[in-house]
Every structure is written in C-alpha cells, then in structure tokens.
Amino acid sequence: MTPFTNDELKWLGAGAILFAVAALLPLVDQGFYLSLSVNIMLYAALCTAWALFSGPTHYVSLATAAFYGLGTYTVGLGIDAMPYPLLLAIAALIGAALAGLVGAATLRISGVYFVIFTFGLAELVRQLVTWTQTKFATAIGLYVFTDLFEQHIYWMLVALTAAVFLTAFLINRSRLGFAMQIIGNDETVARHVGIDTARSKIVLFMISGAFIAVAGAIMAPRYSYIEPPSAFNPMISFLVVIMALLGGTKRLWGPLVGVIPFTILMDQVSARFPNHTMIVIGLAFLAIVYLIPNGVTGLLEQARARWKARAARMGQEKAA
C-alpha cells in the first residue's frame, strides 16, 4: 500500500472525529432524535455502500432490498442458535455470495437490463422466502428477541457506516479504485490497458452487497417480528437510489448529502401524510433525474468550476 499523504491523513482524522461525535448522540437523546438518527445512519450506510458500486460503474442496482432482507432473515433464522456477531459475519458472506452470483450472471449485460434484472431478483428472493416459510414453517414471520436496544442498534450502524466509508476510502486509493475510475471513463480502454473489467465490477458489487446485508442484520432486532414484505420492502431499494443520486455519487460523502435531508423529509411525510409517501418518492425521483442528474455535490462542483474559471479570467484581465 502506498503511504498516506497529509491530505489523506487529515480526511481520516476528520472522519474519525465526526463518527465519534455521532456516536455520542444516544447520551443526549433516547427518543425521537435517536430514532430518526437510526434511520439516517441506516441510509447513510446503505447509500454509501450502494454508491461504492453504482457510482463508478453507472449500473443502477435495485437489488438493495434483496441483500438487506437476506441480512435480516439471517438474524431471524439464526438468533436462537448462534451468537449475534457471528450472524453479522454470516450475513456479510451471504450478501457477498448473492452479489457474486448476480454479478457473474449480469454484469456483461447492458445497464438497462441490469436495473430490471436486479429489481426482478429482489422480488424473486422475497417470493422464495415467503414460499419456503409457508411451506416449511407454521408462521409467515419470525420473532427476533434480543437484549439490544435502540442505542445499541444505532452504535452498530455508526460503526458500519464508518466501516463503509473507510473501505470506500481505501478502495479509492487502491488499484481496484483506479481500475473502476478507468472503467467509468471508457471500458474499452480499461480492457486494453489490462483491466479485467468484469472481475473488478463483481468484486465491488460483492463488497457493496456484503455491507448492505450486514445493515439488514443490524436492523433485525429493531423489527422484533420479521416478515418478507418488510424485510424485502422494494421501497428500500428505491429510497437508496433516490438519496444517493440526490447527493451525488462522484464523491465519497456525496450520498450523505442526500441522505440527511431526505430521511428527515420522509419522516415528516410519513408522520403527517402517511398515504402520500409514494407520491413524494415518485416526484423526488423524477425531479432528481431531470433536474440534478449529478446530485447536489455535482451542482456544487460545477459551481466551483465556474467560479474558478471566472477567477482565472479576472486574474488574466488584471494582468493584461
């Protein structure tokens, strides 16, 4: 590994401080703000993990709910037999394995088919779980009883989000990250400089899928009663895409810029207009795709580039 530059050390330090501060929240509030922050932290982890793959490849995955639900079910099925930390590890492996299979089967097809395939996959997994449960078990759902409270879930999510950020940061400065940057620019060139493009994409999808599955596993105790419609809720997949695109996927912290306001908005909407959440999601989706395809961070960067160009022009005029 190449040594960290001063700049990188600064980013690492700032990140560590921010996560440490975020971890203090349950000491201040255990009610509304904690519960809202659990959602924010959850989507921060999900969206950053999603953007890890979808950002550089431009493949829009709607399989988030599949990975998430499998993580949740891993805990639901295993909680009476195995220690919880082990279940988190198993969830990660299951997520990575599913992503590996899907990746091997689909990453050679074009982007449009990938979207449809991943959406279909999430539904298929949900139906399979439902079918298996009605066939072999007496109840549709599973009870998850643990002694984990809201603050414990929150802390685990903070740790997970920190791990996602750290992983993404390390990947970005690695050969794999460089390969993804080249693939995002021009896949033909990528192949001709010696990059195994399919393998790089699959590896990244697996890492992303593993993190999403762990997020589901962490959230399992919060549901108490797990059933397919909530664990494999396709809404999760759509919300992740919307928030990540709203923030922008070009920067590591881009999705976060979308997650915080949108989670708060959704919280307000579902509290006040519970029957209109779908409308809000639909409108938000259209607005983002049409108005800010590169997200808020993309807008900021364009503005900065314009400002720089203007400053350069002014400098030239002054010199002339």
Binding site: T2, R175, F178, A179, Q181, I182, G184, N185, D186, T188, V189, A190, R191, H192, V193, G194, I195, D196, T197
Partner: protein, 242 residues
C-alpha cells in the same frame, strides 16, 4: 527464431461482410511493420483482432509462439500487446499523468504508486508533454491527446505496439515531430505494427509493409517493392481517399 507476432489465416466476418479474409503475416522482433491499404480494407479490424477487441471468426494469432487469439483483451494486454486507437480515446476525468498511469498499473510491466507516477511523468516528457502532467486531457489539443495515448500504450513496456493511424490529422510540423518520435521508438528496438496512410512516414519508418485490400492481404515485402507492385497501385488508384 519464432516471430514476435504471427497471424495465421485470420478471418473476421460481420454478418455477410468479410472484413479480414484469411490474412497471414509475421512480425519479427524489433521490426516496424507498416499495415497499409485503402479505407475500409480491414486494417483497423486486423488490429482489433490482435488486441482482442474482436475475436477472429477463424484463424490464429500468436505472441512469441504463444496463442493469444482466444484470450480476452485484458489478458492480451497483460501478455504485452498495447495499442492506440484510430479515433483517439483518452480518459476525460483523469489528468494527463493519470491517463498514462492507466497504462502502467495493469498492463504487461506493472508499477504502482510513486513509481508509476514517475514512469508516467518520464513518458509524458518523452512524447513532448513535459510539465503538462496535471492538465485535464479534454482541454488538450488533438495532437497532445494522441501523445497522451501513445505514452499510455508505452507505459506497460509492451512487447508489441499497435498504432492505428497515429500520425493522421497532424499538421506538417507536428507530423515531423511525430515521425521522429516513432523513429526513436524503432531505434530502441520496439516491435511495432503501424497502420498508416502518410506515405512519407511509411517510406521513412517501415522496415516492411503488408498491404490489405477488401479484407485480403495483397502484398507483403520491403517498402519500395510493395509500393511499386501493380496490384497495390491499382488498389490505391481505385480508392479516391488514398
């Protein structure tokens, strides 16, 4: 001695069109081979078959005796085949140095980190772009983009270098510089296949020429003999662009 690269009865069809038809030739170690022919005669397709961008329909291509024609493009690049593209392909979100590094990190001879940066800077200097390493490539002129692409192809220290009309579109001054640069590569003993239309460049640079017409090889030999071949003259006369 086995040839650096040998092409045996390579064929590529696109539906009914046979773009490369039973073409065979060898490139010796350290040789600069000109691949010439009228527009649409199958030269780019031939390079695509060698670099693995396309799979041959039939036939075989071997690098130092080792069959590469059934490998994917990235494996062929790792084995030591590098190329430039007829329509220049730079990586717009990376600066010039990053573009060249792309060729240094994953290819035939690999480096990473400070070493790769150093190599990229040295190669940029070599192609005449010293000090422009941090320039965004989409702000560069066409010739400078071509230079970046050449430096990227050289960065993995390839065993065979494929140049697809690298000199096309340059003005007379740039052309002189470009020819000198390729001559320099030839002198250091690189094995090169150069697709080219510029006759001056072909005469001054090539050790040998292969001529294609309508997908077939119609001549193969030293430059003056080949260019005087009546069939070659006829092929070029039949093509208004040549």
């Amino acid at each position: 001695m086995t040839a650096a690269l040998s092409v045996r009865a390579a064929t590529k069809s696109f539906g009914g069109l046979v773009a490369v038809n039973e073409v065979s030739f060898d490139v010796r170690q350290g040789e600069l081979l000109g691949l010439i022919g009228p527009n649409g005669s199958g030269k780019t397709t031939m390079l695509n078959l060698i670099s693995g961008a396309l799979k041959p329909t039939r036939g075989e291509i071997a690098l130092s005796g080792e069959r590469i024609s059934d490998l994917p493009a990235h494996r062929i690049a790792q084995k030591g085949v590098a190329r430039t593209f007829q329509l220049v392909r730079v990586l717009p979100s990376l600066d010039a140095e990053g573009n060249v590094m792309a060729g240094a990190v994953f290819g035939h001879m690999r480096s990473w980190g400070a070493e790769a940066h150093k190599l990229a800077r040295a190669l940029l200097g070599r192609v005449g772009l010293a000090g422009k390493g941090h320039m965004p490539v989409d702000a560069m002129t066409y010739i400078d983009q071509k230079r970046v692409e050449l430096a990227r192809a050289l960065a993995g220290n390839p065993r065979v270098l494929l140049l697809d009309e690298w000199l096309a579109g340059l003005n007379p001054t740039e052309l002189k510089l470009g020819i000198a640069l390729i001559d320099d590569l030839r002198r250091e003993g690189r094995t090169i296949i150069m697709v080219e239309h510029v006759m001056d460049a072909i005469r001054s640079l090539c050790d040998r020429c292969v001529v294609m017409n309508s997908g077939r090889k119609i001549a193969d030999g030293d430059v003056e003999t080949v260019l005087g071949d009546p069939e070659v003259v006829a092929a070029y006369l039949g093509d208004a662009d040549a």
